[in-house]
Structure formats: structure tokens, C-alpha cells
Amino acid sequence: MGDEKRMGLAGTLMVTLVVFAVVLAAFYGLDHLIMSIQGLPLNMDLSPAG
């Protein structure tokens, strides 16, 4: 949904990948945060801790 005229294909791909990684990390953190607020900690692989 954008106009990618200003950047080359490689640049666009790069930006897309970086943005995707950042968003993924943010949601991963969000999952940990929300569950720990509720006293339900998670392991690194998001399985219930303990």
C-alpha cells in the first residue's frame, strides 16, 4: 500500500525486513509484559514458566 519509487528494491526490502523485525520484537515483549503483570510469567519460548 505505498509508493516505493524513491528507494531501490534492495532498500525497500531492507526497510521492510527491519520494520518487521522491530514489530515482531515489540509484540514479543508485549506478550511477556502483559502476562507478567498478571503474575503469569513466560519462558523465553513463551511457554508458561515454572
Binding site: M1, G2, R6, V15, F27, I37, G39
Partner: protein
């Protein structure tokens, strides 16, 4: 872009901008409320602290030490006032030949429909008026005035049904009302007084509209509107406290003896969740009803100018309705969580007991609302030429909506009785079982909300072209947020919902809600910056299909029916109690009626409401109708 472009900012965009901010505030409020609800449920562990606090007391205070004979003599003759809640028997309930509950049901529901309408309309009218003031665009002011005009008679109708309801309650449930009067005492006077206050501000606000139109006087007018809303809101929360007291009494002992102050009685565990839920729902309901008015006027005229006006009015109404509707499930979630925290028994009666089938009907209604809202947005894209860029996505949105809708409708597995289990051949349906339980429904509901927001976002984008250099990065970010949020909702729902324990299942639904909120909030923020000073494509109000207007009729009908249905469940979770655990309902109607009976009742009140709303609109148009003076020629012809 050219200078004259940036100078001329079109009005719907600005208007929407203000409302987006409002949406943000509402969303954040709900998010905050969520946190509070979570915190509260953590505090649940301290429920026994009260017991500890007043654990065995060793010391006894003896004042005066009167002789026992004296004490007995002193207390025996003066018959003590009946302090506990009365426990009327069946013969104590007046019998009028028809079901008392049905009579009260109809009166209460009509009062509630109109009450909700006249509380909501001044609220968004005030916001629209303020928008008009800020943008200096008189069309807002005129539309706000028109909204007020068409709902004005609603205030009288509300009062009439309120009086009818009170009369019916006092006649048909005298013991119960006597007890409520005793518990709430002086609060009733405040309630009555507030009606006078509200009427004062209502009439000054409406009739002073043109007299207080410009300059400082406009601020006086806005203040009147604010006071009108303040009075209305106070009336609503007072009335809510009666309903929540009946569901979860506070400030009284186990036998119903008043032990707390009026504030403790009002501030029960369900009061604020109901307040928030009704507040938001009222706005959506009000928006939907005035939207139907606009649609009706749109269809009734061929004049392009009027069609443009009513198209815009209908769009605005739909905008308000959907905007209020999106956070509603979260408010409902909080209410349900508080009900469970108050009494697990009550929560299960609502969600897993005989009332559980009702949520299938609820799914049909909410599905209707979302489909109608989305359909209206898609139709609205025809107003602008820039929408072709996004048309291809509509079919995917539609497919996701329908799949989620069907998942949501899949019957919940229930246990009603041993007999029913044997009929079903087990408590689970073999194939539908996994789709029928909560995690699947949570996924479906959140995805429906997300794609509805996507429709919204696409509609808003359809008449703009971003000019900022980082547009493609922002778009990549938006796409990533949508995809990751959807993946997260599905992953969390499936993993915690089916493969871990119950505690994690419940806890993970908060993640799903948060993911949805992240999409909505980041969508608003990103688009807010992305389209600052964007190039605008021409759009044409009034250029929309007649068929799309029927979505604006579907919305209020589904809203009205939904309110009726939720009223049925809210009242039914009390089971056979007038005031839960305190005052038993021994009337002939103390059972929970079947969903079919309730459906017929709800249809009856919905159609009644429809007729009264038609009357209200008719009255509003009557004032601007002027009979042409009969000419002598005509007079002669008659003679």
C-alpha cells in the same frame, strides 16, 4: 503540493480528526480500566482480610449495664422497624391477569431505549458543536442543531415511560419497591431533582441555539450543553446503581439490613463496569438511530444538495456508532470479569449455564452490526476516486469477517442437565467442539474488530495520497503491525487456549485484546502523521448507492435488539432473586424465561421503539412544515 491545497482543508477530514482523538481517549480509558480490572482480580486474594480484621474479639464493651429485665422490657414493647429485606410470599404479589414481569419488561425497556438515546445525542452533539467552533464551519453547527431537533421529543417520551415504569413497579412489586425505597432513601429525591436540572439545561440549550451562536455567547451555549450532559450522566449513574445493587448488593448485611452509607450502597462491585459499558453503548446506539434518520431523508429526496447533506449526516452517524462500538467488547469483558470476581456462580450462569445459548444470538447481532458497518464503509468508497487503490482488499476482509462470524456463532458446549448430556451423546459436539469454546471465539472477535478497523482505515485513506518521504516505511510498519498482531492473536489463542492450563488461557485473552488495541492506536497515530498535509483526491458527497443506506437501517435495529437481549441476560443472572442473596423473588415469574420467549419480547419492544422513533422524527419535521394558504379558487371549488 500547491499552496491553495494546504489552505483548503476539507471539513470531513478535520471532523474525523477530532473524533479520532476522542476514540484514542476512549481506547486509553478502556485500556486503563483493563489494568484496573486486572489489579482488582489480583486483590481478590485479600477477600479474607475482612474476616481476619474482625476475627475473634476478646474485649467486650459494656455500657451502663442495665438489668436484663429492664433491657428486655425496654426492647420488647417498641416493635422494631422491619430492618431486614422483606421476604414476600407468592400471595403478596398482586395478580393482574397478565404477567407482571412482561409489563415491567416492556416499560423498562422502552424507558431505557429512549433514555439511552437522549443521553447519547447531547453528548456527540456537544462534540460536533465544538468541532464546528474550532473549524469555523457552520455546517457542523447546523447538523448538531438538527440532531438535537430530531431527538427533542425523546426526552418527553423517556419521562413518560419512566413514570409508567415506576407506577408499574410500585403496583406490581410493592414489597420489593418498598425495600428499594428504604435502601436508597434520600437518593430518590436527588434523582427527581436532577430531572428538573436536566430539563432546564435541555430547553435552554436547544432553544438558545441561535440566540447564543457567536463569540463569547457561543461559549455560554457550550457550557449549557456541558451542564446538560453532566445532569444526564448523573441521572444515568444513579439509575445504574439500582440495577447493580440488585445484581450485587453492597452496603447491606446478609439479611438485607442497611449497614453502609448511601455511597457504599451505590458503589457496588458492578457499578462502574456497568456505567462504562452503558456510557459507550449509549453513544453507539444514539449514533445508529440518528443515522437511520439521515438514511431515510437521503432516500426520500432526489435533490443533489440535500442528498449530499444527508449522506454526510449518515456517514457521521455511522462513524459515531462504529467508533463507540469498537471498544464496547472490551468494556463488556471488564464487566464480565467483575461479575466472575463477585460471584463465580453468577458468571457461569451467564456464560455457561442456560443463558449460554443467548450468546449465539448475540453473535448474530454483533455480526450483523459489523457486516453492515463494513458494507457501508465499502459502499462509501465510491464517493472518492482514490479508492480504487484499496478495492482489491475488500474481498479478503469480507472473507475473514464471514469466517470469524461463523466461528463465533458455533454453539458453545454446555452442560444443562444429565438428560441433555445423554441427548447430545456427550458434553462436546465431536466436530464443532474445538470451535465452540472460548479461545476460538476470542480469536474470531478480535480478528473481526481488526479487519473492521482496517476497513475504516482504508476508507479514511481512500481520498488522500501521502507526500511525506518516509511514507513507504510507515506503510511497511503498518502492514507489519497488522500481520504480527493477527499472528499473535491466533498463536496466543491456540497455544494458551488449547495447550496450557486455564489460568494462562484466561490471562492470554488480555494479550489478544492488547494486540487489537495496538493495531487501532498505532493505526490512528501513523495515519495521523502520514497524512498531515497530504494530497487530497476529490470526493463527492451524495454519490453513494441507495442500497448502502439500508446498512444504516440495519445498524439501529440490530443495536436495539442487542440492547434488549443484553438486558434480558443482565436481569436473568440474578436467577430467582429480586436482590441477589438478600431478597428472594417469590412471584409467579421468578424463573428465567426461555430464549424464544425473550426473543419475542425483545422483538415486541424493538417494534414499539421503532414506532415511537418514527413518531419522534415526524414531530421534528412537523415544526418545519407549513401549510400553504388555501386560495379562494380552491375554497370555491370545495363550496
Amino acid at each position: 503540493m500547491s499552496n491553495d491545497m494546504s489552505g483548503r482543508i476539507s471539513w470531513p477530514a478535520i471532523f474525523s480528526g477530532r473524533l479520532w482523538t476522542l476514540l484514542l481517549v476512549v481506547m486509553l480509558t478502556v485500556a486503563g480500566a483493563q489494568t484496573v480490572a486486572q489489579a482488582a482480580s489480583h486483590g481478590m486474594g485479600s477477600a479474607d482480610s475482612a474476616e481476619k480484621r474482625i476475627a475473634p474479639v476478646g474485649r467486650v464493651q459494656v455500657e451502663g449495664q442495665p438489668l436484663i429485665e429492664e433491657a428486655a422490657a425496654a426492647s420488647a414493647p417498641e416493635a422494631p422497624e422491619p430492618l431486614a429485606a422483606p421476604q414476600p410470599q407468592r400471595k403478596d404479589y398482586p395478580n393482574i391477569g397478565v404477567s407482571s414481569r412482561a409489563v415491567v419488561w416492556i416499560a423498562a425497556q422502552m424507558h431505557l431505549f429512549f433514555g439511552a438515546l437522549v443521553l447519547a445525542v447531547p453528548l456527540f452533539v456537544l462534540v460536533i458543536e465544538l468541532t464546528g467552533l474550532v473549524t469555523k464551519d457552520e455546517r457542523y453547527d447546523d447538523m448538531a442543531h438538527e440532531f438535537m431537533k430530531i431527538s427533542l421529543v425523546g426526552f418527553s417520551i423517556t419521562a413518560i415511560f419512566g413514570g409508567t415504569l415506576a407506577l408499574a413497579l410500585f403496583l406490581l412489586y410493592p414489597d420489593f419497591m418498598g425495600y428499594m425505597m428504604r435502601v436508597f432513601g434520600v437518593q430518590w429525591l436527588w434523582y427527581a431533582a436532577l430531572f428538573f436540572v436536566e430539563s432546564f439545561f435541555l430547553y435552554t440549550y436547544y432553544y438558545g441555539w441561535n440566540a447564543l451562536r457567536y463569540g463569547n455567547k457561543k461559549w455560554v451555549h457550550l457550557t449549557l450543553g456541558l451542564m446538560l450532559n453532566a445532569a444526564g450522566m448523573t441521572i444515568m449513574v444513579l439509575a445504574n446503581s439500582w440495577a447493580t445493587f440488585m445484581m450485587a448488593p453492597s452496603g447491606v448485611s446478609e439479611t438485607g439490613v442497611v449497614t453502609g452509607s448511601i455511597w457504599e450502597i451505590m458503589k457496588g462491585p458492578l457499578w462502574n463496569p456497568i456505567n462504562l459499558h452503558r456510557f459507550i453503548a449509549n453513544i453507539g446506539f444514539g449514533g445508529a438511530v440518528v443515522g437511520a434518520y439521515a438514511a431515510f431523508k437521503f432516500l426520500s429526496t432526489r435533490d443533489p444538495k440535500l442528498r449530499a447533506h444527508y449522506d454526510w449526516m449518515g456517514y457521521t452517524s455511522n462513524f459515531i456508532a462504529i467508533l463507540a462500538f469498537l471498544p464496547l467488547p472490551f468494556a463488556g469483558y471488564w464487566l464480565m470479569a467483575e461479575i466472575y470476581a463477585y460471584s463465580q456462580q453468577m458468571g457461569i450462569t451467564a456464560m455457561g449455564g442456560i443463558l449460554a445459548w443467548l450468546f449465539i444470538v448475540q453473535a448474530v447481532l454483533i455480526g450483523t452490526i459489523l457486516l453492515a458497518g463494513n458494507f457501508y464503509l465499502w459502499s462509501g468508497m465510491s464517493r472518492t476516486e482514490g479508492s480504487v487503490r484499496y478495492q482489491w482488499m475488500i474481498k479478503y476482509i469480507a472473507v475473514i469477517l464471514v469466517i470469524c462470524f461463523l466461528t463465533w456463532m458455533t454453539p458453545h458446549t454446555l452442560i444443562l442437565s444429565a438428560r441433555e448430556i445423554s441427548v447430545l451423546g456427550g458434553s462436546h459436539h465431536h466436530i464443532l467442539g474445538p470451535l465452540g469454546i472460548m479461545p476460538a471465539k476470542n480469536i474470531a472477535v478480535n480478528l473481526m474488530l481488526i479487519v473492521t478497523f482496517l476497513s475504516f482505515q482504508l476508507y479514511r485513506r481512500s481520498d488522500k495520497v501521502a507526500v511525506v518521504p518516509w511514507a513507504s516505511a510507515a506503510n511497511a510498519c503498518m502492514v507489519a503491525i497488522y500481520l504480527v498482531a493477527i499472528a499473535n492473536i491466533i498463536f496466543v489463542g491456540v497455544y494458551y487456549g488449547y495447550f496450557t492450563n486455564t489460568v494462562y488461557k484466561v490471562g492470554s485473552s488480555v494479550i489478544q485484546v492488547a494486540s487489537t488495541l495496538v493495531v487501532i492506536i498505532s493505526g490512528l497515530v501513523i495515519d495521523g502523521f502520514l497524512y498531515k498535509g497530504a494530497k487530497r483526491l476529490p470526493s463527492h458527497w451524495g454519490q453513494v448507492s441507495d442500497r448502502s443506506q439500508y446498512a444504516l437501517f440495519a445498524l439501529p435495529i440490530a443495536f436495539t435488539w442487542l440492547m434488549g437481549l443484553m438486558g434480558y441476560v443482565r436481569s436473568s443472572v440474578k436467577t430467582h432473586w429480586h436482590v441477589y442473596t438478600v431478597m428472594k423473588d417469590n412471584s409467579p415469574d421468578n424463573f428465567i424465561p426461555t430464549i424464544g420467549y425473550a426473543g419475542n419480547m425483545i422483538t415486541l419492544v424493538t417494534i414499539l421503539f421503532l414506532l415511537f422513533v418514527l413518531f419522534m422524527f415526524w414531530i421534528a419535521n412537523l415544526s418545519s412544515t407549513r401549510q400553504t394558504r388555501p386560495t379562494t379558487a380552491e375554497g370555491g371549488a370545495v363550496a
